[in-house]
Amino acid sequence: VAMAAPLVLHLLLALLLGSGGRSGAEPERDSLREELVLTPLPSGDVSATFQFRTRWDSELQLEGGTNHHFLRYAVLPREVVCTENLTPWKKLLPCSSKAGLSVLLKAERLFHTSYHSQAVHIRPVCRDAHCVSVSWELRQTLTVVFDAFTTGQGKKDWSLFRMFSRTITEACPLASQSHIYVDISRNSQENETLEVSPPPTSTYQAVVLGDRRTYAVYDLLNPATFSGSRSLNLQLRWKQFQDIGSQLVPFLHAQRYVSGYGLQKGELSTVLHNTHPYRAFPVLLLETVPWYLRLYVHTLAITTKGKENKPSYIHYQPAQDRLRPHLLEMLIQLPANSVTKVSIQFERALLKWTEYTPDPNHGFYVSPSVLSALVPNLVGAKPANWEESPLFSTMFPVSDSSSYFVRLYTEPLLVNLPTPDFSMPYNVICLTCTVVAVCYGSFYNLLTRTFHLEEPKRSRLVRWLANIIRRIRGVPPV
C-alpha cells in the first residue's frame, strides 16, 4: 500500500497572524520531542516515520479565534524529491544531524527508498484553557518506506544499520523525550512471528487507523537502552514470514485518473472506495482544477453502485482565466462496502503561446483531490491525551471512540493540452501573410464582380475618322 501511495511533498501552512511583533522578553527554552516509528509492512517492506516537535513560547496574542479569510490552500503538484529538499529541512532540527535520531537521516539511504514524504507543520498552540497566550509548534515529519526488493536485496529482515547505515548512540541532548517505537502487532499471543532485538524495555498499546496496535518502546534517554553495547542497532527478524497476497486494504482509499482520448475533451474521474463491511460514512472531497481545464459543471456525476448519489453539500467557485482555479467541494456519503465514482467533464483550453511551459509536451499537472473523512474504527478507542501520548498518534487523531480522522491525497494528474509546434508560428505567419496579401484581394475581386456588356462608346470624331479609313479599305462604314 505504501508503495502505491503517491509522494506529495506538502507544505501546508495555516498561518494565523495576530497583531504580533516581538517583545523584548527572553523567550522560554525550546522543548524538543523526537520519535521514530518503525512499522514492518505485510509485504516485507518496512516504513520508518521520524517526527520532531519543537515548541517555544511567544508573546503573540490570539485575537478572537481563527479568521477564515486568512486561510489559504496551495498545492504544487510537480515538486520532485531531491536531496536539496532534505538539507534545509534538517537544518531546522535543534541537533541538526549531529546527535539523536537525526543521525539516521543520511541522504544517500533516504533517497534509496521507494516512498518519501517530508513535511513541515507550523501552528499556534494554546498554553492555557482560555487561550490567552500561545506557544508555537514546529513539527517536522519524514516518512520513508524501505523496499525489500531494491534496498533489501530481497531480504525481509531489517536493522537500523541496514536501513540507514548508521546506528544510534545517544539521544539529542536538547530533547525532553526521545523514543523509538516498533510495531509488533503481528505477534499474537500464541504465535510469535516477528522478533525484535534487543528486547524492548516496555510496550505500548494504541489504536492507529482504527486498529489496535502494539509497539515495542525504546527510550533513548534511559541509559538501560544502551546497556549492552555503546550503540543501539535495532533488529527486526521475521521468524515465519507469510506474504499476505491480498494486502490489507484500508477502509477509505481513492484513485484519480483522466479518461477519454484526444486533445479536445476529457473527463476527470475520482473513484472512492469504502471497504468497511457495514458502516457508511461521509467524505469531504475537495478538488482544485486549473482554469485551463474548463469544467462543465452540469456533467458532474456521482454514482454509487449504478445509482446517483446526491451530495449533501456542494460548494463551487468557478475559475477565472489566468487568475483563479476551479474550486469544487462536496460532502458525499459513502455507503458501506461500495465504490463511488465522481466524474466531471472538461474541455482543454488553448493557451496563449507564451503561456506554455518550456516543456509543454510533458503535459500540465492537475493537483490531487483531497479527501477528509471520519473513518469508523474497528475497535473502540478513547481519545487520548495528546500531550502525553506519542507523537505518531496525532497523525490520525481519534475524534471520538468510534472513528478517526484521515485526510487522503489522491495522485496528481498529468493532462496534455493542445500544443502548437513551436517552431511553426514564424513559418505560419509568413505563409498566411503572403497568401492573404497575394491571393485574397484578387480572388475577392473576381468573385464579387459582376460583368455587363457595354457598348463601346466612341466620340464622333473617332467614328468619322474610322469611317474614312473603312471607306478607303472598301469596308462598309459603322
Binding site: 534509496h112 485518473y257 516543456d359 484578387s442 473576381l446 460583368f451
Partner: protein, 621 residues
C-alpha cells in the same frame, strides 16, 4: 488575377487548357508515379537520427542477465497453459506478485458481429493480467507499457517469460522515474483494445469489460513483444497502426540504435537492410521495402498490438522475434538487453515523444522519407482530376463551338452560356450513395437472413452479400436512366456534368485520405485517377469498362494482395489469392467493428459510390 479578369487572355487560357489538357495529364501522371518510385533513391531519403535530446546518447550499460530465467518462466507458462487450457491467470498473478509487482487483472467479453473464421472466434471472453512496477518516490503520473499478447494460436510463451524476467530485473533497480506496466493480454488485439478502453475509461467498440483497479497515469510509450522461440535470428519491427497511423519516428530510431549497439539483426517488413545503400541494388531493395510499407499502411489494419495504442496518443511499436535458418542466433539475454536499453531511454524522457516525424515512409530502418518529400507524388496525381474537371467546365460553358471570330469578347464570360444542369445528376448521385450505404449496412445486418435462406455460414454470408451488392452496383446505370428524363441542354452536357461532379468528388476524397493516410490515398489515386480521367460514353467503351472494373476499389484490394505477396517473394496462385481476398474482406469488416478501422466505411460510403458515378458516366445514354 489580371489574367483571369481580362476576357481575351481568359479565352486564350481556356483554349490553351483544352489543347494541352491531355499531354498535361499524361505528364502529371508520369511525374507522380516516377516521383513515388524515386522516393527510395538517395536524394529523397535521409538518414534517420534521434531528435529527442533526452534519448540522445547511449551511455548506459545494459546489465540484464536473466535470459535463462526468461526461458524457465516460459516453460512454466507453457505447462500452466496446457493445464488450464487458457491464459493461466492465477499463475501469472502469483508470479508477477512474487517478483514484486502490484498485480491486477481485467476480464472482458465481446461478441463479434459475425464469426471470425481466420481466428476461429465468435463469442470471445478472456482476461488480461497486468502488473505495475511503481517508480520509487514518484507520484505515478507517467508510465511505460510492455505488452505481450498471448492467444491460443500464438502463445508468445517466450515473450511472457522475458516480460516476467525483465520485470524481476527492473524491480530491483532504483532509477525508474516512470511506472512500468507489464501487460499480458489474451486474444491478441481484442484484449489490448479492451485494456486500453478500460484504462482510458471509454467505450468505443462495444467491448464489455470490468473496470481497471490499478492505473499509472499517462502512458508515454509502449512496446509490444512477440517471441515464439527460445532463440531468435532477427527482430522484426512493425510500425503501422490503426488507420495507417504511425508512431513517432524517434521510437523507431531508438530501437534501431539499440539494434546497432547490441549488434542484433533487425528487419523492417521482414527485409534486412541492404549492405550498400548507394548502389542500384540497394535502392531497389529499399523500394521493395517501401512498397511493402505502403501496402501495409494502406490496409489501415493495426499490424500488432501497438497499433491500437496510437489512437490514445501513445507512441508504440511491436517487436517480433524471428527464428529463421540463419546460422547466428541470439538468446533471450540479447533481446532483453535491447528492451532494457529502450526502457531506460524512455524512462529518461522529459516530454512525450514529439520531436521527430509522425508522417514518414521507410525504405529501410536507417533511412526515411519525410512528408514534405512524398506529398508531391500525390499532388501530381490529384492535379489530373483537377485539370479534367476544368476542361469539362470550360466545355460545358460553351458547348456549341461557333467559329471563334464570331464570339464577342465577353460572350465567353458567362452571359449566354449553357451552364450546368444539376437536376439530372440528382438521381445517379443519390442512387450511388444509397448503394454504398447498402454495401456498408446490409452484409452485417442481413447475415442471419442470408444464412437462413442459403446454405452458407454467417461469415460467408457477410462476404458473399458484400460481393453481391458490389457487383449489383454495376447494373445501376440501367436503372438510373429510367429515372432520368432526357436532358434538354444538348447531347453531351448530361454526362459531362456528372463526370465533372464525380471528378471533383474523387479529388476531394483522395485529397482528404492522403492527408491522414498517404499510402491509401496514393494507392487509390494511382489506380482510379487515370481510369476516371479517361471514362466517357463514346469511343472504345468496352476497353474503358474493363479498365474501370480493374481499378474499382475491390479490384485494387485484390491486386494489392497479389502485389504484396509478390514483394514478399511468396507469390500467390489465383485460387489462393481469391481465398485471401475473401478473408481480407471479412477482416476488413471485422476490423471496422472491433477496432474502429476506417477503411471499410471509407470504401463503401465514399469511394465505391464515387466509382459508380464514373460507371454511370460510361453508360450514359
Amino acid at each position: 488575377m489580371g489574367l483571369l479578369l481580362d476576357s481575351h487572355r481568359r479565352r486564350a487560357l481556356a483554349r490553351l487548357l483544352l489543347r494541352l489538357n491531355t499531354p498535361l495529364c499524361v505528364v502529371s501522371y508520369v511525374a507522380g508515379v516516377v516521383w513515388f518510385l524515386a522516393l527510395a533513391f538517395s536524394p529523397l531519403t535521409q538518414n534517420t537520427y534521434i531528435s529527442e535530446n533526452a534519448m540522445g546518447s547511449t551511455m548506459v550499460e545494459e546489465q540484464f542477465e536473466g535470459g535463462e530465467h526468461a526461458l524457465s518462466y516460459a516453460r512454466d507458462f507453457i505447462a500452466q497453459r496446457r493445464k488450464t487450457g487458457n491464459l493461466p491467470v492465477a499463475w501469472l498473478e502469483r508470479t508477477m506478485r512474487s517478483v514484486g509487482l502490484e498485480v491486477y487483472s481485467q476480464s472482458f467479453s465481446r461478441t463479434l458481429p459475425f464469426p471470425d473464421e481466420t481466428h476461429e472466434r465468435y463469442m470471445v471472453s478472456g482476461t488480461n493480467v497486468y502488473g505495475i512496477l511503481r517508480a520509487p518516490r514518484a507520484a505515478s503520473t507517467e508510465s511505460l507499457v510492455l505488452i505481450v499478447p498471448s492467444s491460443p494460436g500464438t502463445l508468445n510463451a517466450q515473450a511472457v517469460g522475458l516480460l516476467l524476467s525483465l520485470a524481476a530485473y527492473f524491480r530491483s533497480q532504483i532509477y525508474w522515474a516512470k511506472d512500468i506496466i507489464f501487460l499480458v493480454t489474451e486474444h491478441d488485439l481484442l484484449g489490448t483494445e479492451a485494456w486500453l478502453e478500460a484504462y482510458h475509461d471509454v467505450n468505443i467498440t462495444g467491448m464489455q469489460s470490468s473496470a481497471l483497479r490499478g492505473r499509472a497515469g499517462a502512458i508515454q510509450a509502449a512496446v509490444a513483444l512477440e517471441l515464439n522461440s527460445d532463440v531468435v535470428t532477427s527482430l522484426d519491427v512493425a510500425v503501422e497502426g490503426l488507420n495507417g497511423q504511425l508512431p513517432n519516428l524517434d521510437l523507431l530510431n531508438l530501437f534501431h540504435a539499440f539494434c546497432q549497439k547490441e549488434a542484433l539483426l533487425c528487419t523492417l517488413q521482414g527485409k534486412l537492410q541492404h549492405s550498400d545503400w548507394a548502389s542500384l541494388g540497394g535502392s531497389l531493395h529499399g523500394l521493395q521495402t517501401l512498397m511493402l510499407m505502403v501496402l501495409r499502411q494502406a490496409s489501415g489494419r493495426p499490424h500488432g498490438p501497438h497499433g491500437l495504442f496510437l489512437r490514445y496518443h501513445v507512441e508504440a511499436i511491436t517487436l517480433r522475434g524471428i527464428n529463421s535458418f540463419r546460422q547466428y542466433k541470439y538468446d533471450m539475454t540479447a533481446v532483453g538487453k535491447t528492451l532494457e536499453g529502450m526502457f531506460r531511454k524512455l524512462n529518461n524522457l522529459l516530454e512525450r515523444l514529439h520531436q521527430s516525424y509522425f508522417f514518414y515512409l521507410l525504405p529501410s530502418l536507417s533511412r526515411f522519407v519525410s512528408i514534405g518529400l512524398y506529398m508531391p507524388a500525390i499532388g501530381f496525381l490529384l492535379f489530373i482530376p483537377g485539370l479534367k474537371a476544368l476542361e469539362l467546365w470550360v466545355k460545358l460553358n460553351k458547348v456549341d463551338f461557333s467559329p471563334e471570330e464570331q464570339l464577342g469578347p465577353l460572350q465567353l464570360v458567362g452571359q449566354d452560356v449553357r451552364g450546368v444542369a444539376l437536376t439530372p445528376l440528382v438521381a445517379p448521385v443519390l442512387i450511388s450513395q444509397a448503394t454504398g450505404l447498402a454495401l456498408y449496412l446490409l452484409p452485417v445486418m442481413g447475415q442471419h437472413v442470408a444464412a437462413q435462406h442459403f446454405p452458407v455460414a454467417e461469415a460467408e454470408a457477410v462476404v458473399l452479400t458484400l460481393l453481391a451488392i458490389y457487383v449489383a452496383g454495376l447494373a445501376l446505370p440501367h436503372s438510373t436512366h429510367r429515372v432520368v428524363s432526357s436532358t434538354p441542354r444538348g447531347p453531351d452536357s448530361g454526362w459531362m456534368a456528372l463526370k465533372l461532379l464525380a471528378l471533383l468528388y474523387l479529388a476531394l476524397q483522395l485529397g482528404c485520405i492522403s492527408l491522414f493516410n498517404f499510402s491509401l490515398g496514393f494507392l487509390l489515386a494511382v489506380t482510379m485517377v487515370p481510369a476516371a480521367a479517361l471514362t466517357q460514353p463514346s469511343g472504345p467503351r468496352l476497353l474503358y469498362a474493363v479498365l474501370l472494373v480493374l481499378v474499382s476499389p475491390g479490384a485494387t484490394l485484390l491486386g494489392s494482395l497479389f502485389l504484396w505477396r509478390e514483394l514478399q517473394e511468396a507469390p500467390l496462385t489465383l485460387a489462393e489469392g481469391w481465398q485471401l481476398f475473401l478473408g481480407a474482406l471479412a477482416q476488413g469488416v471485422l476490423d471496422h467493428h472491433l477496432y474502429g478501422a476506417l477503411l471499410f466505411p471509407l470504401l463503401s460510403l465514399g469511394l465505391y459510390p464515387c466509382w459508380l458515378l464514373f460507371w454511370n458516366v460510361l453508360f450514359w445514354k
